[in-house]
């Protein structure tokens, strides 16, 4: 395998696939922090030139974390769809990029290919793509999943309603929930990050959200995003649970820091399969985000884009209903500013979709990152145009518990109207029946939470 290139007569030599992948990455403060990024723009192009000639088969043979020390690498290797893989294994990454961009490579073809791709292949293609390349391919991917409604159909843009509260005051959570529903938000999930991570409070919030859903006959699902072990105990308490949640990392060591393993998620998945209150067949919900591995010193010298792709390699084992990257959440030490957060949002959406996941994005910034509100609003439109499955939604985009800025209740109908997108068909029908929406236009009861019981 060739690991060297020359640009204007200057030679560049790399020592491993992991190094090539890292140096081919566009600038990210997290890669600088890890000390693995290209030293300048020219070296970055040299790394990309090397990467463009590496074949997908060579990438399969060189996962960024070796099999011997990582159960994720082993699981991806042993569960890869050999048939799908053999159709593309001979392509170089450069050829793979071009094949992805060909109009004749359609959504169904990409969906069939997904189980044959390793995270490293997807991450490699990502590094050779511009933002508009990422959007072009992302928009072609079709990943449709079903729980109480059907997510990911063409021409649809869904949203998670996120009614978080710093003390889990259930009435406060429900006031925010009703407000969000009256703006047409919440068709992906009504999902609460709890302040208190206990089985009892998880069960209580789920039960009360379930009541609202049933009383108003809303075709959606609910979730409380406590640790997976806490949710398993909550299930034992006998509460309804439409989706089960967990944050994932891109290496075994990173997952250990999250208190999880493949065996644990297998167990949670089996329990949920037997006990979920949704109609299925999809019932898991995962969150990811560039930088999570490095933050627990679990990156093994790999860059954060490749590690992010490895989270998707983990997630797809469970055919989840929802996966989203929380793109600007961890902070400026991983994604410093508007351009880096924007780029990462489009990368993560592209990689997740290409691996066959119903990929959403929490387009967001923390207040110590250098991203303006205008830049964030632009990203929401870019993600919508790229076919992103869902965005978040909060009152004025303000999470009063987790302290960051995301998508607002008002942004969801705005982006939908701008791009001609609708919510899931079941939820769309419900909104029209309730008078909240009139097709793409706000209906008589739009923004009026008293419409909900």
């Amino acid at each position: 395998m060739n690991l060297s290139a020359s640009i204007r007569g200057v030679g560049y030599r790399f020592t491993s696939v992991t190094e090539v992948l890292a140096k081919a990455n566009p600038p990210k403060s997290g890669d600088d922090l890890a000390g693995i990024s290209a030293r300048d723009a020219v070296e970055r192009v040299a790394a990309r030139a090397v990467l463009a000639d590496i074949t997908l088969a060579e990438l399969r043979a060189h996962p960024v974390v070796p099999h011997e020390i990582d159960e994720l690498s082993r699981m991806v290797e042993s569960t890869l769809d050999e048939g799908a893989y053999s159709a593309v294994k001979h392509l170089s990454v450069g050829q793979f990029r071009e094949w992805l961009l060909e109009p004749s490579t359609t959504g169904p073809t990409l969906r069939a290919l997904a189980p044959g791709l390793t995270p490293e292949m997807v991450a490699a293609a990502c590094k050779l793509m511009s933002n508009l390349d990422l959007m072009t391919v992302g928009a072609k991917c079709e990943v449709v999943v079903r729980a109480n409604n059907t997510l990911g159909l063409p021409g649809r843009l869904s949203s998670r309603l996120q009614p978080n509260h710093p003390t889990d005051d259930i009435d406060g959570i429900l006031y925010t929930t009703r407000e969000g529903l009256s703006y047409g938000c919440g068709d992906a999930v009504i999902g609460v990050n709890p302040a208190t991570d206990t089985p009892e409070s998880t069960a209580q919030i789920l039960t009360r959200l379930h009541d609202v859903r049933v009383r108003n006959n809303i075709p959606t699902q609910h979730c409380v995003l406590s640790h997976v072990t806490v949710q398993m105990k909550a299930l034992d308490l006998g509460c309804p649970m439409d989706l089960m949640f967990q944050s994932l990392s891109g290496s075994q060591k990173g997952n250990k820091a999250f208190g999880i393993s493949i065996a644990l998620i297998d167990e949670a998945h089996a329990k949920m399969k037997a006990m979920t209150s949704n109609r299925g067949p999809n019932f898991m919900y995962f969150e990811t985000g560039q930088g999570s591995a490095l933050s627990s010193d679990a990156h093994h010298g790999a860059d954060q884009v490749t590690l992010e792709a490895r989270c998707y390699g983990f997630a797809r084992r469970y055919k989840p209903f929802l996966v989203n990257t929380v793109v600007g959440f961890i902070g400026p030490e991983y994604l410093e500013d508007g351009p880096q957060i924007t780029r990462a949002g489009l990368e993560d959406h592209f990689m997740g979709k290409l691996m066959g996941l119903p990929m959403g994005c929490d387009a967001c910034f923390t207040y110590h990152a250098r991203m303006s509100q205008d830049e964030l609003e632009c990203l929401k439109v870019l993600l919508g145009a790229a076919g992103c499955t869902y965005l978040m939604s909060l009152p004025v985009g303000d999470d009063i518990m987790l302290n960051y800025q995301s998508t607002s209740f008002h942004d969801i109908p705005s982006v939908r109207r701008l791009l001609g997108k609708r919510p899931t068909p079941e939820f769309d029908a419900w909104l029209n029946e309730m008078g909240i929406m009139d097709g793409l236009k706000p209906g008589e009861r739009f923004g009026d939470p008293s419409v909900l019981k």
Partner: protein
């Protein structure tokens, strides 16, 4: 005429360049007055009033089409400015000493570096390590560490109260508590090196959490059993939202002491720590407490807010 120009000319004729465009349709009259302008300032909706008894989330704010009314936009921008100002505030060099705390400093040398290099914020600089070795009490049960973290505003605000309440709760349980100290440019994991140096059973760093919209007064606490360099997030237990809208310092201190007690009993922390059956009492955060109302920040014209000060 060149060949290309001839081609272009031909194409123009084909597209109808010889025919004049039809006259544009007449523009509509602008209706007067514009149909959907809200009176300012608007009254809060009944829903907003009711919700405000339970949450500080901005609900019941109405809409213009699918967007915000102007006063909502201005309130949002003012709150954003408050958050950014809190992020930019730094802990004064002499603040720790002035408040009777042993001053510590991480290896970070500038605010921007603090944001981009958490690795440097997790380790003490040489002078601080020497000072800690020389002056701090060793072999304690609990070592609390106050720190700026991502909000020096919060550290200087409720930080001292939280430290005092937590120390009192620990001493009341008969534990030995380490020298009071305050670290500048500190990240959570700094507690590992500090705790290891003073040989504490439990280290507890109390630090400013990242500011939220319109705020910057929140503290978080991270506790770890047998602190040592190399501990990770899975080894820690944490509590966030220590502020007037979440858990006030006195209540939070009690809860943290219960947590520290569990660590001392079970001789572990983080994921393996069993939290079932802990008696948190009213420190559990259950029960109703009215949220602090969200303050209107923007008034145009003469001061309507009695707290207004003239800007020099």
């Amino acid at each position: 005429m060149s060949f290309t120009r001839a081609l272009m000319e031909n194409l123009r004729v084909k597209l109808g360049a010889m025919d004049p465009l039809p006259p544009p349709p007449p523009l509509p009259e602008v209706p007067f007055p514009p149909s959907r302008v809200f009176p300012t300032p608007r009254r809060r909706s009944a829903y907003a009033e009711a919700a405000a008894r339970h949450t500080t989330a901005l609900v019941g704010i109405g809409h213009v089409g699918t967007r915000y009314a102007t006063d909502v936009v201005l309130q949002f921008q003012a709150e954003l400015a408050v958050a950014h100002a809190a992020v930019g505030t730094e802990l004064p060099e002499d603040w720790a000493e002035k408040n009777g705390l042993l001053p510590l400093h991480s290896r970070v040398t500038s605010h921007r570096q603090f944001l981009l290099r958490p690795d440097l914020g997790r380790r003490l600089d040489e002078a601080s390590l020497a000072r800690l070795n020389e002056k701090a009490r060793k072999g304690v049960d609990i070592q609390p560490i106050l720190a700026d973290g991502l909000s020096a505003v919060a550290c200087m605000g409720a930080g001292l109260a939280l430290l005092a309440h937590f120390t009192r709760e620990c001493e009341a349980r008969g534990w030995s508590v380490g020298t009071p100290m305050c670290a500048r440019y500190a990240r959570v994991w700094l507690e590992d090196e500090v705790g290891q140096t003073v040989n504490a059973k439990v280290a507890a760093i109390l630090l400013g959490e990242r500011p939220g919209l319109g705020t910057g007064d929140g503290l978080s606490a991270y506790l770890v059993y047998r602190p040592r360099i190399g501990c990770s997030d899975g080894d820690r237990n944490m509590m966030s939202n220590i502020h007037a809208r979440g858990a006030p310092p006195e209540q939070a201190a009690r809860r943290l002491a219960v947590l520290a007690g569990a660590m001392l009993d079970q001789k572990t922390s983080g994921v393996p720590l069993n939290l079932a059956g802990l008696d948190l009492g009213d420190a559990g955060g259950g029960g109703y407490r009215a949220p602090e109302p969200r303050v209107r920040l923007v008034y145009a014209g003469d001061a309507q807010d009695k707290n207004t000060k003239e800007r020099a």
